[in-house]
């Protein structure tokens, strides 16, 4: 029940409405649940409302950690001269 997607604000309108672009699809949504929002911001969209801002920095950090996790393991394995974790 919580399907929500990231979308970029492309225009702000009266009545706390905004136009967003989600993967090439545009739609008018309400931003009335957000304290402040600016064109260019990414928001999480749910049932026609923007629910939260998305933090680019945190996203990058999460991806970095995912990438590192695996790489670290590979590197450790290589260093130890054995094969990596067994794939399921």
């Amino acid at each position: 029940m919580c399907l929500a997607i990231p979308a970029r604000i492309t225009a702000l309108h009266d009545g706390a409405m905004a136009t967003v672009n989600a993967g090439g699809v545009t739609r008018d949504v309400s931003v009335a649940l957000l304290e402040a929002v600016a064109v260019g911001d990414y928001v999480l969209l749910h049932v026609g409302y923007a629910l939260h801002l998305i933090s680019e920095e945190e996203a990058r950090e999460t991806l970095r950690m995912m990438a590192q996790t695996g790489l670290l393991q590979d590197e450790l394995a290589e260093m130890a001269g054995t094969s990596g974790g067994q794939g399921a």
């Binding site: 029940m1 919580c2 993967g23 309400s30 629910l51 999460t62 393991q73 399921a88």
Partner: protein
Amino acid sequence: MKYVSEFRDPVLARNLARQIAAEADPARQYAFMEFCGGHTHAIFRYGVHDLMPKNLRFVHGPGCPVCVLPVRRLDDAIEVAEKHGAILCAYGDMMRVPGTGRRSLLSARAAGADIRMVYSPLDALALARENPQAQVVFLGIGFETTAPATAMAILQAQAEGLANFSVLCNHVLTPPAIRHVLEAPGIDPEQAVRLDGFLGPSHVSTVIGAHAYAPLVARYGKPVVIAGFEPLDVMQAVLMLIRQVNDGRAQVENQYTRVVTDTGNQKAQGVMAQVFTLRPAFEWRGLGSVPDSAFAIAPEYAAFDAEQRFPISDKASRETKSCECPAILRGVKEPKDCKLFGRACTPETPMGACMVSSEGACAAWYTYRRAEAMGTPAPALEPAQ
């Protein structure tokens, strides 16, 4: 699609799978409940199972509002449309759910009731504006993610003086349900599900914040890792849970930091507090009556409360006999344990809500892995790499 595609990356998935395999203790069994249907869906749709070690099990929790809505509340909605002639607006998710006698909103519409599928409560408001002579009722369902939008619609209707708009409110709350699963009141402890931790809700948490789970963790000693709904999010959160279990820790951790903060969306919380009031108890399908677990519309907004506006009759609502949804929603049974699964009960002829909602455990097993669930030989799995 930014913030989506990156989290479905096959190379990162392989990395995470290796790390999980490396860190999972072969001597242990890991049972993690994904509370949210959104996680259930992601796990099945992307075949996350296939990337997990054999000793790790996902337990599918009650976090699908479609699945936990008692038949009686759906029957009420049908009654409002059929008997009181209202235009009933519902999310697509609800349209096929079978009520008493297997009647759904779709079959009521086929029989002549005016039932509209909407994408947002804003669409229901627009319908109320366009049809001033008709009563327009919005069927509000969902967790804390969805409830703020409903609350906003009521405030908007009030501001516009839309006298023909009301809400049939079935919004439910996450932390009381998690507490209920853990306490398993009245359940034989032998039968209660053994859990090693929770994948915490993604989008509910954007509203209520990570701190909301702290009391639960403190009281029951089970780790909670808030996780995004993309498959890599799930995998990373699993890794974080394994580490907590291996370390003997029980903490609230947040994998989904790009959207979830400690305190959530306080404006949304404020709107909910304004428009809604806590019901002393609410019936959940599978869980039974759960205290303080749902919203009603506050007395100040009674004019927009469909339960007040329409004389909704007492009726003998009936769950489908021998549907095991209740036990499945508590995590103590699996769809394959249901005699009807894949036979009388399929997504086209669902006997229970868990077979309708794409987040329901039965629908997920049937749609994505029924070969295994029904005991026919699983198709040979190509190597994941």
